[in-house]
């Protein structure tokens, strides 16, 4: 039984992957304090490190064509263990979604609408995501390329407008930082912008053709990573050593745009692009959460869960952290720990067990 009837194409998956990773552009700041001028390397290293794991997602999607994560877990680990593992995934999806909603709230509170009540910003944003999720995955997939193009436009245009203020010697010395900091940076990057692509476990089952799923997923990941790279290079080249002191390095670099005293105050560009891209990312998280929960509970549709989940996520986002400092510290440290087994262990393990047990053919033969 499938709780979603919608189908997506391979190219739509590519844009969804790209838009999803682009949505983490502001989260690159998490590593700046650790990896400083070498952040660009960490973005590339994190990408390379994630490739095998993304390939394992795609291999699972191909192997279990039409099945979502909860169904795969049940088939591979059995009903009890599978459900426990699915609950772990759901916990990850729920917490990460609330953190992302909080990111939007903080973005607006800090830079765009400081006087607007915080909870109101979160509620409106969550309502917009809930509306998109209610429309189904097909609708999100159909507009995904527009989100990606908007993101690329803003990143490229701000890069060009700031080119006269860039100092590429800010990247020197190239290999100065201790290895442990680089490893920590790679871990953060691979766990947050790239590792969060775990949500596609709930989406890749909707592919109408899984044959080239790996290629599309990697293509999308590459586009997203190039965007993150461009953001990081821009911020380091423009801000130099000060990039680590600002609440948002991206906002600060855009605030420096001053072309003939006419083209100034371009902060709104980042505001627009980030709102759109985080909306897209959160909608995919929300969709994955709603469908995973309804699959777990054996519901026929995920629609009745949308509004209650939106409420829970807003409350979580509003209450889970005491302050933005708390948010950053816990996400950088605890956040990447609880998500690590899901990202680095369970997907390859699931694939391995499925191969050993010759699933899903064996499962079907087993008459479940």
């Amino acid at each position: 039984m499938s709780i979603e009837k919608g189908r997506i194409s391979g190219s739509q998956l590519l844009f969804m992957f790209a838009g999803f990773v682009q949505g983490s552009a502001l989260l690159v700041d998490f590593t700046i304090g650790i990896t400083e001028q070498q952040s660009w390397m960490v973005i590339l290293a994190g990408l390379v490190m994630m490739v095998p794991f993304i390939l394992s997602y795609a291999a699972l999607a191909k192997r279990f064509h039409g099945k979502n994560l909860v169904q795969i877990n049940d088939m591979v680990y059995g009903r009890f263990l599978g459900k426990v593992l699915s609950l772990y995934y759901i916990f990850f999806l729920s917490m990460t979604l609330s953190f992302n909603i909080l990111d939007v709230g903080e973005l607006y509170k800090n830079f765009l609408m400081p006087d607007t009540p915080f909870i109101f910003l979160l509620a409106v944003f969550a309502a917009a995501c809930a509306y998109a999720v209610a429309k189904g995955i097909e609708v999100l997939a159909r507009v995904s390329h527009l989100f990606v193009i908007t993101g690329i436009f803003v990143i490229v245009s701000t890069f060009i407008l700031l080119i006269d203020q860039m100092d590429f010697s800010n990247f020197l010395p190239l290999f100065e930082l201790p290895l442990i900091r680089i490893i920590q940076g790679i871990h953060i990057l691979s766990a947050i912008p790239y590792g969060e692509t775990l949500v596609f476990f709930m989406i890749m089952g909707r592919l109408n053709n899984t044959e080239r799923a790996a290629g599309y997923a990697l293509g999308g990941l590459l586009i997203g990573a190039m965007n993150l790279l461009a953001v990081s290079v821009r911020n380091t080249a423009v801000l130099g050593r000060t990039q680590s002191i600002w609440t948002s390095a991206s906002f600060q670099s855009i605030r420096l745009i001053d072309i003939g005293t006419v083209l100034t105050r371009m902060d709104f560009l980042i505001g627009i692009a980030q709102t759109i891209l985080i909306f897209f990312k959160c909608s995919l998280f929300f969709y994955a959460l709603a469908t995973a929960l309804s699959q777990l509970f054996g519901l026929k549709s995920y629609l009745p869960l949308i509004l209650p989940l939106a409420g829970i996520e807003v409350i979580l986002a509003a209450t889970v952290f005491q302050s933005p400092v708390d948010h950053a510290v816990i996400t950088q440290n605890a956040g990447i720990i609880y998500s690590s087994p899901l990202i680095y262990v369970f997907s390859p393990l699931t694939l391995l067990i499925a191969k050993i047990r010759s699933l899903p053919g064996h499962e079907r033969g087993g008459g479940t």
């Binding site: 609408m113 409106v124 050593r241 002191i245 420096l256 105050r265």
Partner: protein, 395 residues
């Protein structure tokens, strides 16, 4: 059917509600309620030792009258300098509301001027507010007053309505002479983060000119670890800018080849490169400067637009550039203030060796050897091929 109708009504009600809630009016401030700040001065209060903050606020009504040309307010100032004191900048800013009745709107602030007493004490603890505040732009200019910042903000020029705008204009047009350089909050904060590298900011002073007060920039103040340690004159500032590759334009005066007058050259374009090298433990900085010049004026009857004359002029101009760089280096060596950023160059190129130099940098800096290579070229004589003087045979 009834359920669908109910949902539609709920959506419409929600949309109407959102129109009011999301239209950006929440916390909106009307323009007549804004105290638009265009300049800020920070001094020490002589009595209490607290911060004395002076904000230059635009008087919208006075601006409207003078721009409308309706008269009746010709002598009325278009600005209001209002001061308050506090233990911190932020407290002083909020204290100002007791006088203004409105919160200050600092988004259009052009410049922040620190008084000499603050600069000598160190800017580190006074600059945080200006970097942290929501409305403050990182492109706001930073200047140091030779005396009190409040005095500088009072000096209204004849051609400009607002002293703060005039001050910002003075600094932004630095390129005409390259005798100063514009430094904004972001640039200054970058230098504050590096204990080895010195920073500089334009100095500003008020001169009494037969009753009217004029402001001018006599040079730049040099900072080490946020504390003002000295001053650079115009020539020395240009010496620094040659190395940093920040010279935009300016005037170089050299003796004419016949010795009968002077050749006055305009800098059209300047490029530079500074490469550090460590040879047997000795630090050598290779500075390569390329300058394109135009012959803008001459005070001799000799025709300078000849190949031999150009050669001599170019040689002389190269010597001027070299002397300016050396003068700047000599002065900063006395101050032990690495204004050129040689420490950063070494850190980037010789990061391993840098670790051993870091702690003794103040002593190492004056021992650096500069290898200066200047190549200048006169590329145009503007509208004259020969000077307007009798030809050789006609004298």
């Amino acid at each position: 059917m009834r359920k669908k109708k109910g949902v539609t009504i709920a959506v419409i009600v929600l949309c109407v509600f959102m129109v009011f809630a999301l239209s950006g009016c929440l916390g909106g401030r009307e323009i007549n309620d804004l105290e638009i700040v265009i300049g800020m001065g920070v001094d020490k209060d002589e009595k209490t030792g607290n911060i004395l903050l002076t904000a230059q606020i635009v008087k919208e009504q006075a601006v409207g009258r003078s721009s409308g040309g309706s008269g009746g307010g010709g002598d009325e100032k278009a600005f209001w300098n209002v001061s308050s004191t506090g233990e911190s900048i932020f407290e002083a800013v909020r204290q100002l509301t007791h006088k203004t009745g409105n919160r200050l709107f600092v988004s259009h602030n052009q410049a922040v001027i620190f008084g000499n007493d603050i600069a000598s004490e160190g800017l580190q603890k006074y600059i945080d507010f200006f970097l942290r505040a929501h409305e403050m732009r990182p492109t706001v200019l930073i200047l140091m007053a030779e005396g009190r910042a409040s005095d500088v903000m009072d000096a209204k020029p004849d051609t400009e309505k607002f002293p703060a705008m005039n001050i910002a204009k003075l600094v932004k047009t630095y390129g005409y002479t390259s005798h100063l350089y514009k430094v904004n909050m972001k640039d200054f904060s970058e230098c504050l983060m590096c204990s080895e590298k010195a920073s500089f900011a334009p100095l500003i002073t008020v001169s009494d000119n037969e009753g009217s007060k004029d402001v001018f920039v006599p040079g730049m103040a040099v900072f080490k670890n946020g504390k003002m340690v000295g001053k650079l004159g115009h020539g020395e500032v240009r010496g620094v800018l040659w190395v940093l590759g920040k010279v935009k334009s300016g005037v170089i005066t050299v003796p004419s080849p016949d010795g009968g007058g002077k050749a006055i050259l305009e800098i059209i374009e300047a490029k530079s490169k500074a490469i550090p090298e460590i040879i047997d433990g000795k630090i050598i900085i290779h500075v390569m400067v390329e300058v394109e010049l135009s012959l803008s004026e001459q005070t001799t009857a000799e025709n300078l637009a000849t190949v031999p004359a150009f050669g001599k002029i170019q040689d002389a101009s190269e010597e001027v550039v070299r002397k300016e760089i050396m003068a700047a280096f000599k002065k900063t060596s006395e101050l032990k203030a690495d204004i050129f950023g040689f420490s950063e160059m070494l850190y980037k190129k010789y990061s391993k060796e840098w670790k051993s130099m870091k702690d003794n940098w103040d002593d190492i800096y004056p021992t650096i050897e500069l290898d200066i290579d200047v190549a200048s070229r006169v590329v145009t004589t503007n509208l004259l091929r020969n000077p307007a003087s009798p030809k050789e045979g006609e004298k």
